[in-house]
């Protein structure tokens, strides 16, 4: 068990959240090849170490939250400042979670 820092609700138990997945860049629909789409759909980094990922605060603010989690120790830290949530609680930005990856691929 561990806790996740929600930018809107504070530090909350992981049991309030649903794991969404690794953060990744959505290919451009106009130019992506089928192979790129399949890779985007299915392939995972699945690292044993720090992973950049999204969680959904189901039993809380019902917003998407980006964090970095160490997948071996389950230690959690907030995502770096380029993150969409720390940039402000813009409803448009929150609504486009996972569908607009233009700003997320600079995460280390």
């Amino acid at each position: 068990m561990f806790r996740i820092p929600c930018p809107h609700c504070g530090l909350r138990s992981v049991s309030e959240f649903r794991h969404v997945g690794e953060r990744r860049t959505r290919p451009d629909a106009a130019t992506a090849t089928p192979a790129q789409w399949r890779a985007y759909l299915y392939e995972q980094d699945n690292v044993a170490g720090w992973s950049s990922e999204s969680w959904y605060h189901t039993f809380g603010c019902r917003r998407f939250v980006d964090v970095e989690r160490h997948t071996v120790t389950n230690e959690v830290r907030p995502a770096p400042a380029t993150d969409r949530d720390t940039a402000g609680v813009d409803p448009a930005a929150a609504g486009s979670a996972d569908s607009d990856g233009a700003d997320v691929d600079s995460t280390p």
């Binding site: 068990m1 649903r18 299915y42 392939e43 699945n46 044993a48 071996v72």
Partner: protein, 420 residues
Amino acid sequence: MKRRPQGTYSAVGLVGRGLAHREWPRAWRRHDLGPAYDVVVIGAGVHGLATAYYLAAKHGIRNVAVLDKGYLGGGGSGRNTAIVRSNYLTPDGVRFYDRSVKLYERLAADLNFNVMFSQRGHLTLAHNDGSMRTMRWRAEVNKLQGVNSEVIGPDEIAELVPFMDVSAETRYPILGALYHPPGGTVRHDAVNWGYARAADALGVQIHQDTEVVGIDVEDQQVRGVETTRGYVSTPTVVSCTAGWSSLVSALAGVRLPISTHPLQAAVTEPVKMFLETVVVSGTLHVYVSQTDRGELVFGASTDPYPSYSTRGSLEFTEELAGHVLALMPAIAKLRLLRQWAGLCDMTPDFSPIMGATPVQGFLLDAGWGTYGFKAGPVAGESMAELVATGRTPDLIAPFGLDRFAEGRLVGEKGAAAVGH
């Protein structure tokens, strides 16, 4: 036909050694790491050892090294709940797992090692109409493939499982179950040790504490592997590394559609034998069986987020206890002895990934999620055939890595996911 440097295990041998106070020789030997092998298998679990054994026994390829970063059978092969069954949902899945049951049935004789396969019957409970429909569907698919499987009602369940609460007053009343008589349990350590000993006798080298830290790929062809004990050149690498498959494949530059999730299990103190069958409830996320020593073994569904942590959690124990007691209120006073976690390499379609990759000579036996142990023998047999002949056997053709690029997923979730 087989030469056994360690001698043959038999009742006569046991009595003889007992009377003479002679030590048993080591079941498998230690070796210096050689400079080159025909085949390098990564992972000394049931899949890796079975692959090496069938390579040597059926195809005469004996210059094989099995490398493991830890100890033999220390991953999923020693952490699973040892259940074997073949009552899957898709014809592909049923055929594949049924071959495994058939191999398990004669494994003790083949390996000269008692693996304690006990075909005690397997019950998958249905608590709602949707589950009942899936059970009937599975029963029909199973029968078409010649697998013994039928839907039974609460009265018959009560006869098979004495302490089961089949009343209508529970939170999740039991409407029926899929009964699969050939299913049962195997002693998983014995399967690892049996394969290791038999493979060793045929000349396979098993190297424990030997971690693969790099895979040497040149022009999309495997040349060798870098290990913590030195470089080994080989044209063929078979990765049988379950929860660590993504990391090993990444060494060869192959990306996989796999997430690693922990799965927790627990065992109680031993009590007098009362539970003959294996009991599974998808709705309650739990499966129960009783070992030959009398302990109850409980397994659950995987943890709800990916992780490489094998720490147990109190949350799991609490939830497990609640679900088990919903099924069998009478065992409330049993105490848990211990709990543990294993790593499951989950794929999007709850089916394995076996066969070739874009890198020549790098073969995958991965994506075994929560069903790897029951498939150990057939996976080993199939991978050995693939390595020896260069052709993908029909039995594993549906499970290739290319199915994701082609959008040809298998759809085994209805029978493979505990929490479906």
